[in-house]
């Protein structure tokens, strides 16, 4: 006799009963083709509206400065992102050892990020999985691709290191590599301490591997048979253990060991994100990246994609006015979300999934075109707010639905009116 439970997620229960642990993940066959991020997350950063004022004293200032009415073309988007000059308030987010980000798309994204002159982050676990000096080394290939197109002063390369990367001494390899010499000489190399990521806060990196290719990694990573009889295994990196003192000392250790490299720190959207960011800045981090729960290109358990981590807006609200360079990532692809992030204190926004999609659309110029459209949109929005540089944006430029401001206001006294 077949049992039924109307109103209960019967199909999901039956799927777990049939397939076991593989059901807590996205379909294994989608790995390497699809990118993953939060499902159906309501981030009220997307609910907030940009609200231009009527009176615009900064536009008057610009008018006086220019001797003519300013336009959106007068918005200067150039900025300093984590110690690097960038013509746009954007950077290329990390793609880890995930198949998608490590192969041709990663190279295409690096080449185009170089053309744009925006900083580029190279993700964790790449060296333990793919090697450093091997012919297909994603780290060296991506650095070479970036350097082949970037000009002499813009941008920079940021290399992440996870716990498993530390065993491979990735930062040491990069710091002493001849490939990095032009970056070090021009002050355009940074190392990023990866503390967490938006798609799976509190967990380390995960990839799906064929059983055969996983063999050589057993000594470095946990390998788990979660896909049943399938020929695939789940490779898990450890997330690393952090306390306030561990973060403080690791940042100092990076500054001591690699004095010619900038120091970036990447945080997952934890409930103590404000304290973590403040600790990193106080220890001397040149940038702190906050990856909202919307973020992620990598593989993650469904429960974490659906139910874990703070939305980006709440992270930014908790951090408040940042005490250092704050970078944001998570579902960034168009100008209004970037501008809203900047209004809440960010200096720049990272493109992750959007960048990979753009280069998969056009490996020659997809990311360049995406960034150009985003830049124009950003200029239009910032000028609409009566401002002409990203740093002038502030929380007043946003209106949040269902806040006290929606209530009827009292009349405002104005000079000359009785």
């Amino acid at each position: 006799m077949t049992a039924h439970a109307p109103g209960f997620p019967e199909d999901e229960v039956r799927a777990r009963a049939r397939n076991g642990t593989s059901e807590i993940f996205p379909p294994a066959e989608s790995y390497g083709r699809e990118m993953f991020g939060a499902e159906n997350l309501v981030d009220d950063l997307d609910q907030a509206r940009l609200v231009p004022p009527v009176f615009m004293p900064e536009r008057l200032g610009k008018l006086i400065d220019l001797g003519r009415e300013p336009t959106h073309d007068d918005v200067d988007l150039s900025t300093v992102v984590g110690g690097f000059s960038s013509p746009l308030p954007l950077f290329l987010s990390a793609f880890g050892s995930t198949k998608l980000g490590s192969a041709e798309l990663g190279i295409a994204a690096s080449t185009q990020a170089g053309r744009l002159g925006i900083p580029m982050v190279i993700g964790e676990n790449v060296v333990p999985v793919h090697g450093y000096r091997s012919a297909g080394s994603p780290v060296l290939n991506r650095i070479d691709a970036y350097l082949s197109t970037v000009d002499a002063t813009s941008g920079g390369v940021v290399v992440q290191q996870s716990t498993e990367d530390a065993d491979s001494e990735v930062w040491n390899l990069v710091y002493t590599s001849p490939s990095s010499a032009p970056l070090l000489a021009s002050g355009r190399l940074a190392f990023e301490l990866k503390i967490g990521q938006g798609a799976k806060p509190g967990l380390g990196g995960m990839t799906v591997l064929g059983r055969e290719s996983a063999g050589g990694l057993g000594g470095q990573f946990g390998l788990h048979n979660v896909f049943g009889a399938d020929d695939k295994v789940l490779r898990c990196a450890t997330p690393g253990t952090y306390t306030e003192e561990i973060v403080r000392q690791q940042v100092r250790f990076m500054r001591n060991n690699f004095p010619r490299a900038k120091v970036w720190v990447k945080l997952h959207p934890g409930r103590d994100v404000a304290q973590a960011a403040a600790t990193a800045w106080a220890a001397g981090a040149d940038a702190v990246t906050v990856d909202g729960a919307e973020g992620g290109t990598g593989w993650a358990p469904l429960a974490l994609l659906r139910h874990v981590g703070l939305p980006l807006a709440e992270c930014l609200r908790r951090i408040g006015p940042p005490a250092g360079c704050l970078l944001v990532t998570g579902r960034m692809w168009e100008g209004s979300r970037v501008v809203r992030g900047l209004a809440l204190g960010a200096t720049a926004a990272g493109l992750g999934r959007a960048a990979l999609l753009a280069v998969s659309e056009d490996a020659e110029s997809g990311l360049v075109r995406l960034a150009e459209s985003l830049a124009l949109e950003t200029r239009l929005l910032i000028s609409a707010l009566g401002k002409y540089r990203p740093a002038a944006l502030c929380a007043d430029d946003l209106w949040w639905p269902r806040t006290p401001h929606t209530l009827a206001a009292q009349p405002v006294p104005v000079d000359g009116l009785v």
């Binding site: 002493t176 561990i246 690791q250 100092r252 250790f253 500054r255 001591n256 690699f258 004095p259 220890a283």
Partner: protein, 332 residues
């Protein structure tokens, strides 16, 4: 016979370097130095052990130096950057011990021109169970005084032939070297216009400035956490600083000795490993032993080549090594 090494600051080809008069003089000083060090330390009751050359882990070090990998029957082993972990472990059987230890550190390329870095070098590596920082500093001080006195007694003509004057060492022989805290040193460097972070190692330029200004060796104590390895014990009275020390030579010769009280508490060692970005799982054998109990201790490493350079007054460290390897320079 070649009488002088290269004048452009770079070593001559090995065949010529080995016949240079400066190399011969340096080796004469080196063997007296090692003899004196052994006599002094054996006199204190220290056992001399021969150190391991490779192991599954080594001292993670700092200042961007890295270890060389060795394929050990399919296992990834490391050349010893220092044998500190083995020194601590050995205390279980040998309460006072020393090595004359060969070490390999792949230093950053920018250190090639400091005159003070070699990829292959040696340390007089001392560890004393139950000792405090003060005890270790007294031993380091006594060792330096004894070595200098012995070398001047044994090979005065060699030193004079290199242009050394005993008056340079007269104050040193009185011992009782000055002690300055890292914080005080940072302030003095900032006062003379040198930018020095209070939370970092004293940089090369700063160290050289201090060394030139001094007229006799002096200790710097209490380096900040984050500038040294996880095995240097944090000072419970001033959290954030370590119970460690350097001994800096006068005359621009810089650091001769690094030492510390060691951390021996298992949980603190694991926590400190994380603070320095290490993966504790790599250090399995050491942590197992620490969990079982490693004696509290203090110790230090005195750089043999640096000490010989200080004695001989030669311009660069490579001149006092028979087979010098400079960072980034591929030589035999």
């Amino acid at each position: 016979m070649t009488t002088h090494d290269s004048e452009d600051g770079r070593p001559l080809p090995l065949a010529e370097h080995l016949t240079a008069s400066t190399t011969k003089a340096a080796m004469a000083v080196q063997q007296e130095t090692l003899q004196a060090a052994r006599d002094f330390l054996r006199g204190l009751g220290c056992a001399e052990l021969l150190p391991p050359l490779i192991g599954p882990v080594t001292d993670p070090g700092g200042r961007g130096a890295k270890a060389l990998d060795v394929d050990f029957y399919g296992h990834r082993y490391r050349m010893m950057t220092s044998a500190i972990l083995y020194k601590q472990a050995s205390l279980r059987g040998f309460g006072k011990l020393f090595y004359i230890a060969p070490n390999v550190r792949v230093e950053p390329m920018e250190t090639a021109g400091t005159g003070r870095h070699l990829v292959e070098f040696h340390q007089i590596d001392v560890e004393l169970a139950g000792a405090t920082r003060d005890d270790a500093m007294r031993v380091a001080e006594g060792l330096l005084v004894h070595v200098v006195r012995h070398v001047w007694d044994a090979v005065p003509d060699v030193l004079r032939g290199l242009g050394r004057d005993p008056v340079v060492f007269a104050d040193l022989l009185d011992g009782a070297f000055d002690r300055r805290t890292h914080g005080a040193v940072v302030r003095s460097l900032i006062d003379v216009g040198h930018e020095q972070s209070a939370t970092a190692e004293i940089d090369w330029v700063g160290e050289e400035l201090l060394s030139h200004k001094a007229e006799r060796p002096f200790f710097v104590t209490g380096y900040p956490k984050g500038s040294r390895g996880f095995y240097d014990r944090e000072d419970p009275e001033t959290p954030g600083t370590l119970r460690n020390f350097d001994l800096i030579a006068h005359g621009g010769f810089g650091e001769l000795v690094s030492g510390s009280e060691r951390e021996s508490d298992y949980a603190t060692i694991v926590t400190r490993m994380r603070e320095s970005g290490e993966n504790p799982a790599k250090y399995g054998w050491y942590l197992d032993m620490a969990r079982d109990g490693i004696p509290a201790s203090a110790g230090f490493g005195m750089g043999v080549e640096r000490l010989v350079r200080f004695l001989t007054g030669l311009d660069a460290l490579w001149q006092v090594s028979a087979y010098p390897k400079l960072p980034g320079v591929a030589t035999p």
